[in-house]
Amino acid sequence: MSAEAHSGDYYIPNPSPWPIIGMVSLLVTLMGAALAMNGVGFGTYLVIGGLLLFAYLLYGWFRDVIGENLSDCYNKQVDTSFRMGMFWFIASEVFFFLSFFGALYYIRVIALPWLGGEGYLGPTNEFLYGGAFVPDWPSAGPAELGGGFTPMGPWGIPAINTLLLLSSGATITWAHWGLKVDNQKQLVWGLVATIILGLLFVGFQAYEYIHAYSALNLTLGTGAYGSTFYMLTGFHGFHVTMGAIMLMAILGRAMKSHFSAHNHFAFEAVAWYWHFVDVVWLGLFVFVYWL
């Protein structure tokens, strides 16, 4: 059956091994992680093996998708499915982050004042901590878990990182403009700039963590402050790293001229993802570093 005769049809892919490989890789990775966390030695090997298999899966699955795209299997309706799919995927990610922002909110606005003896809970503080616990944020709790620490201020590295990410949002938009007028050069350089900015961000973030651990005694174990700080910035940093890898894949495809002004879903999906990561960062900057 020729592609032309089918061009009006919705593309249903052939049976594919990738989902099963995905299942195996996830199972092996997580089983390994559960074992490794409990000190069972070979768990780590399972994690590594699982992750390698997962990387192979991503490579193979996307290779198929790209191949199908290049052989014109996808019509407009398929493209819309991809777009909607990406949109709802990002929506689910938003709610994943919301759980951590929610935890931060709850701890700061509800749990700490309670521990500090707010309202009818006055006796809690009195009897447990001799009335000595002052629930000021940042706090490592009544037991000051992790020992004394210095909180992370907003105006050093975090401010620089904000600038980096915001400008990367601008460069990727610039690349998009280039793509829309089939300006290959602008597309490629826009992507390169975005990747560099993203990697710089990750680098600064890593430096900030090292600094926090070595100089500020701010660790994962620093009570509620350390927990929320590292989980929020950590998951965000992980997403930036993922986004940067996705950008690199897109850059590779852009250099092979895979995209055209009217066919570039993959580019837009990554761009949306990047903007999403950007917006999350603004939330982090305001609620984790600043306020």
């Binding site: 059956m1 089918h6 919705y10 593309y11 249903i12 892919p13 052939n14 049976p15 091994p17 990738w18 989902p19 099963i20 995905g22 299942m23 996830l26 199972l27 089983m31 992680a33 559960a34 966390m37 490579y59 790209i66 191949g67 199908e68 290049l70 052989s71 299997c73 309706q77 499915s81 991809f82 909607m84 799919g85 709802w88 929506a91 689910s92 994943f96 919301l98 759980s99 951590f100 929610g102 935890a103 709850y106 701890i107 749990a111 700490l112 521990l115 709790g141 009544p142 037991a143 878990l145 992790g146 660790t219 994962l220 174990g221 620093t222 009570g223 509620a224 927990s227 989980m231 590779g252």
Partner: protein, 531 residues
Amino acid sequence: MSTTTLSHDEAHHHDAPKGWRRWLFSTNHKDIGTLYLLFALTMLFLGGASAMLIRMELFMPGIQLVDPDLYNNLVTNHALIMIFGAVMPAAAGLANWMIPMMIGAPDMALPRMNNLSFWILPAAATMLILSFVVPFFPGGGTQINTGWTLYPPLSVQVGMSMDFLIFAIHLLGISSVLASINIIVTLLNMRAPGMALMKMPMFCWTWLVTAFLLILVVPVLAGGVTMLLFDRHFGTSFFDAAGGGDPVLFQHLFWFFGHPEVYILLLPSIGVLSHVIPAFSRKPLFGYNSMVGSMLAVATIGMVVWAHHQYTIGMSMGAVTYFMIGTIIISIPVGLMIFNFIATMWRGSMTFETPMLFAIAIVLMFTFGGLSGVMLAVVPADMQYHDSMFVVAHFHYVLMPGAVFGLFAGVFYWLPKWTGHMYDERLGKIFFWTNVIGFNITFFPQHFLGLAGMPRRIIDYNVMFTEFNVISSVGAIIFGLSHLLLLYIVIKTIRGGKKAESRSWEGAKGLEWELDSPPAFHTWTVAPQVK
């Protein structure tokens, strides 16, 4: 990245692929639907086995069969397996089979991802089963004795089996989110020309809302158990008051997921009912628009009432009052749906085939469960009922009729379409009656037990509770065994039986009934025009 270009002959298949590849590598919504349903059936028996153990242990006061931690692990597993392994996959199986056929689409929107969302489930089940098995090995740590709600601090103290369970929940979450994305995209993007949203079959509407809820709440559960994992292993103190955290925070995260989850379980069945009741009453569904409206209301309000599961934790008076009023308000749209079903039956020329029997049982018994729900929603009353067997009775009265019976109704209603054979109506009716009677004998007495003060999730009980527990356990034997009949009926129907027509039921309406029974491997490759 290197790329391969497919040759064009390779790009389309018209007959079912042969052998194991057909199932493992499938990109066909019907095959994947079948896989989902078979998986759910397997899990139904696994979850059922743990339930039978629980009931046998509770047959008499004292400790007979299992030890307390194992008992609580059985309770945990029973709930998780039934909710995530049986009900949700079965509903997803119905969605996979029916949605494309109902809306005139050639398949789900993202067929390869569809297969991924199914195949993650067996991986999750493996992790779940491992979490149960691990403690039996030396160094395997303690059993998961928290119940399915996994509250810290207990869940922080449990041994390594909890980590298997946390990762199982992550996997289940990934699976549900991917499936939901697929369903939403299919419904929004793949409807046949002319099928406006407000002409969509009601089953599709219920799944649209369900999938939307899943995308919003499952990631929050994933976040919550991730924090749990970090509290367990990496020294964070989200749920540790010493570090400024709060165990109650986990409860909020859990129930922010958990309450919408009950509607996730309920709504697909409501969707099935909206097809079954009109078909066997030979009347169109009463109040299509109000059905859609109340469903949206249930979903929206359902997102903001979660803390009615936590009345006893010491929230402020204002918060408790808000959650009480919100919860009670939800019974209005839920009641509206029920009234719509009754009005659909009103003056219809009804016949009582097995799906319809289940549908009527739902209308009666789900309403009963909803009423005990309103009792629980009242704060001062719930101070008594909370964590008692009354709650167990409540949620089994809403979940068995509200979710499982609806799925049974759907299976009986659509079996002829799927297999091309009519099931044995006489056996179907026997199944219905043993199932429903067994169910009521099992769970009705638990209301009394709860009101008299028997706590849930405790292996032993005061001798004064013996009689009702014996009745309940006897009922459980009838109820449990009745499912073997279901298995037999399903197998028998797959293997043969009276030939089903394309419109297998006289009153059945909709695009799916215009296809052959069983339908071709690919259907609606050319979209129908809907008027």
